[in-house]
Symmetry: C2
Subunit: 215 residues, 2 copies
């Protein structure tokens, strides 16, 4: 049975890094501190850096990192996360995920601009562009996932849109023990989410707080 999953990073004050696609570092300087514990995990080092030595943390952070990469068959993301806003008029722009994006399944990019043809990439990822209602895109992604889960990959505004519409089964927020004082709000307009989902809180060795909302 397909479940719809969202993973977010937050500070104690409820902000995630606000991406700036036109900056040298498009995720912004706050992204590093927000995700430091995640980047230190064995899974992340292996999947992202190709580190096969087995180095990296192995506690609760690692447990969440490992499950992040498991059981997903399709993904939905906002246009900004694909990088579409950076090159809105370039039909050859293939996103900022590199020649071999780390997905390996269909990725549905939500856009309000004109439809684009799909882009097959090395490694099994295909970027599809959709202008329809999020419910319709989710229905299509669910079929494409073939019984695996669908991830709503972000950005945070897209994730909150799915959450507010009641479309998310599993929300995981990794809260770094830092105060950012700025960024994109993670929790806006989600009052009462604990009444539709079961909440669990855990703390990792890194001090990261893992909050899950499950239904």
């Amino acid at each position: 049975m397909t479940r719809v999953r969202v993973d977010l990073f937050s500070s104690l004050d409820g902000y995630t890094a606000a991406p700036d696609p036109e900056a040298d570092n498009p995720m912004g300087e706050d992204w590093g501190p927000l995700t430091a514990a995640y980047a230190a995990t064995r899974t992340f080092r292996q999947k992202v850096f190709g580190d096969t030595s087995g180095a990296g943390t192995t506690g609760l952070d690692e447990s969440f990192a490992a499950s992040f990469f498991t059981g997903v068959g399709a993904e939905i993301m906002g246009a900004a996360m694909f990088g579409l806003h950076a090159y809105p008029d370039d039909p050859d722009w293939k996103g900022w995920w590199g020649d071999q994006p780390p997905f390996g399944y269909p990725v549905y990019v939500l856009t309000h601009s004109a439809p684009r043809p799909s882009i097959p990439m090395a490694g099994g990822t295909t970027f599809e562009f959709r202008t329809g209602a999020i419910e319709d895109v989710l229905a299509e992604a669910t079929i494409a996932a073939g019984g695996l889960d669908v991830r709503v990959g972000g950005g945070v505004r897209t994730a909150r849109e799915f959450l507010r519409a009641g479309l998310v089964d599993d929300l995981h927020v990794a809260i770094a023990p830092i105060v950012l004082g700025r960024g994109a709000p993670v929790w806006d307009d989600l009052r009462g989410l604990e009444s539709t989902h079961r909440v669990q809180t855990q703390v990792a060795e890194s001090g990261t707080i893992h909050v899950t909302f499950t239904r």
Copy 2:
């Protein structure tokens, strides 16, 4: 050696209940869910309800509740927390803490209005009203505390004022696993607090996240 302590309640999205002194329930309807785990502790039941049966939770929530009531020799609070804004023109108003307030030591009320004479109450509490700089009030409270700690008791704006001024040694925030979507912001203007204080995160059986900033 006197330490300056602050204890706050927050939701996951960084709000605490915004008091409305003119409402029937001056702490607001969000105060109950925010403090439910605290109200369930053995210490709270004993200190506030006079329940001497020993009933109540005994885990991490209780540990923080017990230390809340230990080792404080003076307190500073904002005028709103005394209830001064509700009756600004009534010189006989003695606050909303009842005939025998639960302090038992000097309580310095910060006010911008005209100075008032101090109010001695049953049980050892004396309310003092001060219009000076927070550093001066803290110096006076520190002397009054006689080697015990000084609590900055709130509200949250007063607490943040002391935090921003670098006057707080120990901040404890009890984060309830709920999303309020409204209220008084707990963390505003505190970016980088983790660089001046050591942060520790723990989770209680209730799901409450206890974050402490210590220096």
